[in-house]
Amino acid sequence: MSQSLTARAVPLPGRIGLGWRLIPVRHLRRFATAAVLILAWQAGSMLGFIPTRTVAAPSAILTSMITLLGSGELQQNLLVSLGRVGIGLGIGVAIGTGAALIAGLSRIGEEALDAPLQMIRTMPHLALVPLFILWFGIGETPKIALVALGAIFPIYLNLYSGIRGVDPKLVEAARTLGLSRAGLIRHVILPGALPAALVGLRYAVGVAWLSLVVGEQINADSGIGYMMMNAREFLRTDIIMVGLVVYALLGLGTDQLVRSIERAALVWRPSVIGGRA
């Protein structure tokens, strides 16, 4: 309630009139900085201060994006990349969730799993690329395995600590209600650990894209990373930039996706309730 009050208390200052009424000046300023930078970049390119070999002009990037979209090349590579992240993330989330459930819900599971996982976690998983190439060759497998491996740990760590962090007072209350162990896990522990698990999922998605970028540089013959590596051979900085833009948009998009999952799954949290009111 206090939120809507403050919102009403400051109705118009901070916004400008006519068609822009709904866009706060603060947002416009942010866009303005970006717009000025892009314009300066474009001017610099056109005047020859920024050589195309270093970086292509914004207009050239836009043009090649349109060309790549027109030929279907971009969509095709995008689908390949999305598929790798999707499969890898799926495998990683499944393994991470399974391990966290075993370690979080049983003493023996904790003793068996937690220490080794914590040890492996300290290793940067991208350093395994050479080993993965030896094990899995240079096909799809090492790329997907890298994404999966990267996604396991954020999921595991967050879900595990979420399970262990469930308010013991609630567990006690549930026990006085006569819940069985299965009921306790289903109605108290898992819902209580869900917020932490979703934080883990957001990290996992970020790591998945990072792993993909590295993985797609292993002798790939398709995917956004391949498209960029290929462009490098021909000094096509415009196509490389298109790849970077696409990666950025994909990261942003999937993060938004997880956020909307969070909003839907955690409706009971006051911040979410407040945000709706």
Binding site: L170, T176, L177, G178, H187, P191, W268, I273
Partner: protein, 241 residues
Amino acid sequence: MSGVRIAGLTRRFGENTVLDRLNLDIAPGEFVALLGRSGSGKSTLLRTLAGLDPVELGEVDVPSRRAVVFQDPRLMPWKRVWRNVALGLDEPDPKARALAALSEVELAHRVDAWPLTLSGGEAQRAGLARALVRSPELLLLDEPFAALDALTRLRMQELVSHLWATHKPAVLLVTHDVDEAVLLADRALVLEHGRIAVETRIDLPCPRRSGTAEFAAIRTMLLEALGVHEPAAAHDLRDAA
């Protein structure tokens, strides 16, 4: 209907004896208030009766249908109010039962609310409904009103008194509030060093009012058992007010 029988209950935490050969019977439908200073073992006794703490030494007989209301409401924040009330119910229509219990505690308008949007009093009433819906033979109240504001507390005491009169479970109310004990209970106990130091019947007619002389006498007696000696002048001032 069976009541509570406790014989020789002893509970130690390391060197510290919290309950020392404690004997206590609570008759079916009896309302017992348990007073005591912090660390006197009140909560341990309640937790033992709730089945949350093990019986290591001594004998404890309790009814199988028990329910607890804690000081903090302890509702699952991810379940709507009625689902919290129905949680763990093994019935064909748990929702109908939950709704009935919620209207008994005057919370029918909040059945679909999320617990974190409830006020302190509402949350505590939901906790009461969650206990009530199990038709307990023994209702354990662990300082259920301590965190509420004074006005809400008075309304809640009235509500508990009414619910008890309707359903007649045996009640063990752990409280710091002597007035609350005298207002609600058939019998008040003062726990000290793990044993019952003082025990008194409260045979005042219901509904009780805190202004009467009998009320004040029992109140003073219990306060003295708790080590609080009221100066006479202050006492008179209270009565005048």
